[in-house]
Symmetry: C2
Subunit: 367 residues, 2 copies
């Protein structure tokens, strides 16, 4: 078995579980930092462990284009290539093709696109994506899917869901790695009928875990929460549920409240590179003049390397001077904050006080 | 006493000593990494210790302009501001005014210049520079000096040396910090007569240590070695000798051979950010295609974090994808290489085999 999921405790819809994968154990709910190009931007593997990262995500689309999955396989797979010995999840490239690349042609066969790097033409089919993800060798691979944009009409989402379903079957048919778990992806946009159909269809196929795709693509947060409210109850209790592309602190709390186990997002690392840090009170924009003489740490009670060693004034100076240590420190803080937020949530679930935790979170958090 | 210099062993002109400063002990010969803006580019203080940095240099000109020496003083000085508890040396800003800034007016009084950041006008006098360096609070401060360019005519160098000498006296007159050592700077360009005069004049003033300035400014290396050959014998045996702005491996070996104790240079960190690494065989340009499938470390026998954990192929991928971890790893390697080269030189001096070491270095090193 390349995946074991032990549901340990529930508190309302919120769940705490242990997910055992080929490269180690993941305690859920969990936030997965994103290492797009086989590196979580600015971070070393040692630092990732120090901030509490249990599993990271890497992007199939990017690694296929550069350095190429063949090179990664030649290096012994992604773990060996990037020297990360804990679990990895690779996405399917679907989202990137429909957002980052220039989509040229989309059929039942697959998606033809032009690279965002050099404009070169490529075709992703479910079979090709499985070849790539198996070469990368992550612990969890995602099925190739079509992610509908927001807003999208019913008929368009329905068509995308049909692709997603057929492609999931083709992925399942060719996937062979015994040390890698293949997850299906529930789509359906923001149409309850379509999302329920997608969930039922995918669940029948008995994947060891499921992504929830097509949310956090521009819709109001309330619509995402509503979609989760009717989607997660249709998903198996005994399998992990992964809400794709979600990573703001409030959405993590609300996702867990609706039964989600896993999350990933570039948000904490991306805003860190703009000098924005996450705290229990909301965001701080450290480049602002108000922090020039502020010799307090980013967050008084934080145990991260940045907060233990440096002041807001120093980090602001680094950011203003375009010094790399500045964005290293903001990245470390944001990832530490999210990983520890998830650990606190897990503890609250075990203590049967998740609702109190959620209320206290919202009392303090400013959007 | 804010500086103690114990000459422990000599081997020919090469010297091994222990330099005790306010923030700790430095074993010489020593290479000082450069932290221009209160950070050694890409590095954390912990990593600097891990590569073997005993003392770092920071730039008075840059810190004066941004974030300002008043802010650094408010933070409790440079050590506290950047969280570096080992010794620091600050330069005088002279070299930057004559190279980086736009020099507007140069008189016996001082140097008026326009900032390279925003064009704002400033005046550096010896008194002003002492105010700034004392506010920064490094273990070693350098006197404000005028560095002649290469090539320069005799009369021009003579005039610059007169400024340097008068300014050294004014610096000495106003410098008050008892926990900070003030070094004089020997100038004289590449004129033996002028360099000998400068050395004799400065030595009379009894500074606790001396910089050798105005070398490595574009002249052929042989001319620099020749200048050292006639300059270091005029410098006190019982005081540290610091060759300013020199940091290529070959120049470090040749500088030590001529009796130099301390060196600094942006070279290892700057070329690292272009993807170039230093090895005993010379430089490697890691972006080159020949390293795409090279799964060996940068340097087989190297103990640095980069060489212990990552391949040339992976680091090349990071550099090609503009990932910050790439230039972090090349910076770590280059600083480790230079710090450990100096430690090997020191061991060779104690073992009375520095000439063998130097010969073996040159047998392997390709320029």
């Amino acid at each position: 078995m390349c995946l074991q999921f032990e549901l340990e405790h529930t508190d309302g819809a919120a769940r705490a579980a242990t997910l055992t994968l080929t490269h180690g154990v993941v305690k859920t709910p969990v936030f997965m930092p994103v290492g797009t190009c086989a590196t979580v931007k600015t971070m070393s593997p040692d630092e990732l462990k120090e901030v509490g990262a249990q599993i990271i995500l890497s992007n199939t689309y990017h690694l296929y284009l550069r350095p190429g999955h063949d090179l990664v396989a030649e290096a012994g797979g992604l773990h060996s290539f990037m020297n990360w010995d804990r679990p990895i999840l690779t996405d399917s490239g679907g989202f990137q093709i429909f957002s980052l690349a220039e989509l040229r042609k989309l059929t039942e066969e697959g998606a033809q696109f032009a690279s965002h790097i050099d404009g070169s033409r490529h075709l992703f089919t479910p079979e090709k994506v499985m070849e790539i993800e198996q070469a990368l060798g992550a612990d969890i691979a995602m099925c190739f899917d079509e992610c509908s944009p927001y807003p999208a009409e019913f008929a368009r989402v329905q068509q995308a869901d049909a692709h997603t379903l057929h492609w999931a079957a083709r992925c399942q048919a060719v996937h062979q790695r015994r040390d890698q778990a293949l997850f299906g992806i529930v789509q359906g946009g923001l149409f309850r009928e379509l999302r329920e159909k997608s969930a039922r269809d995918l669940v029948k196929m008995d994947f060891p875990g499921y992504g929830i795709g097509g949310l956090s693509v521009g819709e109001p947060k309330e619509m995402m929460y509503e979609a989760l409210d009717y989607t997660t109850p249709l998903m198996p209790v005994d399998k992990p549920r992964y809400l794709m592309g979600v990573g703001s602190p409030d959405c993590l709390v609300e996702g867990v409240a609706r039964g989600v186990d896993m999350f990933d997002c570039v948000l904490p690392t991306r805003i860190a590179r703009n000098g924005t840090v996450m705290t229990p009170d909301g965001k701080l924009v450290l480049r602002n003049a108000e922090y020039a003489h502020d010799f307090r740490p980013i967050q008084e009670d934080c145990g991260c390397y940045a907060c233990r060693n440096f002041s807001r004034a120093y980090i602001r100076h680094l950011l203003k001077a375009d010094e790399i240590l500045g964005i290293r420190l903001t990245t470390i803080h944001n990832l530490y904050y999210l990983c520890h937020l998830m650990a606190e949530i897990r503890a609250a679930i075990f203590a049967d006080c998740f609702q109190d935790f959620r209320r206290q979170f919202w009392d303090r958090y400013k959007m």
